[in-house]
């Protein structure tokens, strides 16, 4: 039982304010904003860091090839090891897990990990639409890719039409309690969500994530470092899985890679009933319907029943028994390469009791979740207030 290797814990978290254009900072400035907040939270200096692990989504999003190289000085990497992870949308989560493994291997004591995207530097639609020979492009963007899968879920589960709108409205309400969240829409009504334009049927404009600039950073420390911290978030489990994009019999609504990833996670964490044992969830929901879909896939509800948790309000911050995305989630802030790490970091803030207005009272065990590609890349971790037994 337990995550592999030596004990490790998150002892510092830092995020930037997320917005559509952070024109006030350069790329190095954006990353330093998050990294320095994480160091301050951990009460550490640059010199205390043994290695740096950076993650982001495609380099075309900023138009810089392997930008970690020019960001070396800004992140205090000179003379240190640095790795750059890229695993599609799950990258923020994978990056955190790679950073954790450096500590779990016993080779490094304190690792800084940073994930980011500055989408305003380039044009994401261009970056995702580059033509390559001999490959068919569906020219539909991520929403067009996932819309038929969502429709399949609706047909299979018989979920009411407006479940997606309920998720979107909930996450936008949650965002009002998170000063870093990109979308701040205090006037938004449920009716406005329902009446927003249909972008990729059945996905409405308001059920879709925004495009954001932003960075997220964490400091991960070994057992000694965690013992010196007043509020470490101990890593109880971590897992990654990938599967091919296309193969006969692929379950696109509930991918096998994700189910196996979750099974590994619960095994490591010694969790037999995630619905009862997990206090708060930060999961990757770029399109609203993915909340009930992942709740089922991860084992929080039976297949076809996840939407009932949404409908009954169980996933709300206020009064819900299984709060999901109290930070506002990807639906409220989406600096793509950072979005997975934000989920992982929000899980840390919750079990450290530092989530501010969106804190879940008494949260002691949290799930951080990310996915990417055509729902084929998965990264997850479980954090706890208590040192793993």
């Amino acid at each position: 039982m337990g995550a592999a290797g030596e004990l490790a814990a998150v002892v510092g978290v830092g995020m930037t304010k997320f917005s559509s254009t952070r024109g006030d900072v350069s790329m190095p400035g954006l990353l330093r904003e998050a990294a320095m907040r994480a160091l301050a939270d951990a009460e550490l200096e640059w010199d205390d860091i043994d290695a740096v692990v950076m993650g982001k989504a495609p380099d075309f999003f900023e138009g810089v090839m392997m930008p970690e190289l020019f960001l070396s000085e800004a992140l205090g990497c000179v003379g240190k090891p640095m790795l750059r992870v890229h695993t599609a949308g799950s990258v923020g989560g994978s990056t955190a897990l790679v950073a954790a493994s450096l500590v779990q291997s016993g080779l490094y004591k304190r690792v800084l990990t940073v994930a980011w995207e500055k989408q305003s530097e380039s044009n994401a639609m261009w970056a995702l639409s580059l033509k390559t020979p001999f490959q068919v492009s569906i020219n539909a963007g991520a929403g067009g890719y996932f819309a038929p899968i969502i429709r399949q879920y609706m047909v299979e589960s018989g979920a009411p039409e407006l479940i997606g709108c309920m998720v979107a409205f909930k996450d936008r309400r949650h965002a009002l309690k998170n000063p870093y969240a990109h979308l701040q829409q205090p006037e938004l009504t449920f009716e406005q969500v329902v009446e927003s334009p249909m972008l990729w049927e059945p996905v409405r404009y308001s059920e879709t994530c925004p495009s954001s600039d932003g960075a997220c950073a964490m400091v991960i420390a070994d057992a000694d470092g965690a013992a010196a911290s007043p509020n470490p978030a101990w890593i109880h489990a971590g897992a990654m899985r990938s599967e091919a994009n296309n193969f006969p019999g692929r379950d696109e609504v509930s991918p096998a890679a994700s189910r196996e990833c979750a099974a590994d996670l619960w095994r490591q964490a010694g969790i037999t009933d995630p619905r009862r044992e997990i206090d708060v969830i930060e999961m990757y929901v770029p399109f609203s319907w993915y909340e009930p879909m992942w709740l089922e896939n991860l084992g929080f509800a039976e297949r076809g029943e996840g939407w009932r948790l949404v409908e009954s309000g169980e996933t709300q911050h206020d009064g819900g028994s299984l709060p999901v995305n109290c930070s506002g989630g990807v639906l409220s802030s989406n600096p793509i390469g950072a979005s997975g790490m934000i989920r992982f970091a929000e899980a840390a803030l919750q079990v450290r009791g530092l989530a501010g207005e969106h804190q879940v009272d008494g949260a002691r065990k949290a799930l951080g979740h990310a996915y990417g590609g055509g729902a084929q890349y998965f990264a997850m971790w479980v954090l706890g207030s208590d040192r793993p037994s």
């Binding site: 070396s72 000179v78 493994s101 897992a239």
Partner: protein, 336 residues
């Protein structure tokens, strides 16, 4: 630290491959797994390195996953770095105990574009890339400084040994490609890829008669800004070499990822390699340089030197970034 060995490798490099990345990686990954006697389901962890900027496509590595065959799902990761760094991630994963075996692969296909221009986008996007200095121009600046300390004859000797020219005379007859660098000073770009299998301890012994044990591996970063660097040095290479324990014993073979003759001269000094070490007997990156794979190919070639019995102790080096900004050093030993 757990004992981890390279137990199989398969590679291919050609000036220009007509196949797509997926097409040329399928047989290489299969060959490496077959050589180790493992199916994909028996591989605990898979890690790869590649670049979207070379493929000209966002998320290009997602396609290449088809060359692995990720059905059923696999535990997998990817770095936007040379495959040598993917190998480091896999080695760390094995150190945690979460895996006993790993598949590592990387590839690059640069023939459809002009790599030296593409590499301009690797520079500071605000202050340097807009000037579009290409990678040869930067290497020429570095070479000019190196030539303050070494003679042209030394560059010629490296070019001849690497098979870029047949004689010093032929070298000297070449016109400058980027003054003071001649064509023979510049690596021959190749498309290609490499796949390797790592295994820990008894598993390695069970699957391989002559495991190439990784005795040390470390990597470090230097500053990016050229103006703050001494271009005749690569301090991160020296740090990585010390971290990997290069100087702890004699080195029989060193496979160096030098894309210019001048960079080999810098590396020999930073790694503390003397006359007793055979430098890049495979021809090294100078003879066949595959962006994103050359570093991992060096580890493959150093492992092969151990498997053949040509070396008892070998060093492999990988680099990334303008003028060798980031360096990885790996020390491999046979059982003897």
């Amino acid at each position: 630290m757990r004992d981890v060995a390279v137990i199989a490798a398969a590679s291919r490099q050609e000036a220009a491959l007509l196949d797509t990345e997926v097409e040329f990686m399928i047989p290489l990954i299969a060959e490496a797994r077959d050589a180790a006697g493992l199916t994909q389901e028996q591989v605990d962890f898979t890690c790869s390195g590649s670049s979207d900027f070379l493929a000209g496509q966002a998320f290009s590595f997602v396609m290449t996953l088809d060359a692995v065959g990720a059905v059923p799902p696999i535990a997998e990761s990817h770095v936007e770095m040379d495959g040598a760094f993917a190998l480091h991630e896999a080695w760390v994963k094995i150190q945690t105990g979460a895996a006993d075996t790993a598949l590592v692969y990387s590839y690059g296909k640069t023939s459809p574009g002009t790599l030296r221009d593409v590499l301009s986008t690797q520079l500071d996007p605000y202050y340097v890339t807009p000037l579009w200095p290409d990678s040869w121009a930067l290497a020429a600046l570095q070479a000019r400084r190196v030539l303050d300390e070494v003679s042209v004859a030394e560059l010629a000797a490296v070019a001849v040994r690497s098979g870029r020219v047949s004689s010093v005379e032929e070298y000297l007859e070449q016109p400058f490609a980027a003054d003071p660098l001649r064509a023979a000073d510049i690596a021959a770009e190749h498309d290609g890829g490499v796949a390797m299998i790592l295994a820990a301890g008894d598993k390695a012994r069970e699957l391989c008669d002559t495991p190439a044990w990784i005795r040390g591996i470390d990597h470090r970063m230097d500053a990016h800004t050229l103006g703050v660097r001494d271009l005749t040095r690569a301090p991160s290479a020296a740090l990585a070499a010390a971290g990997a324990g290069v100087g702890d014993a004699a080195v029989d073979v060193a496979e160096l990822h030098a894309s210019f003759t001048t960079q080999e001269i810098i590396l020999r000094k930073e790694l503390g390699l003397g006359a007793g070490t055979s430098i890049s007997p495979s021809g090294g990156a100078l003879a066949a340089d595959t962006m994103m794979a050359s570093g991992l190919l060096r580890i493959a070639e150093a492992s092969r030197a151990i498997w053949r019995g040509d070396a008892g102790r070998a060093v492999a080096h990988a680099t990334a970034g303008p003028l060798m900004q980031q360096n990885l050093v790996c020390v491999l030993e046979g059982d003897r």
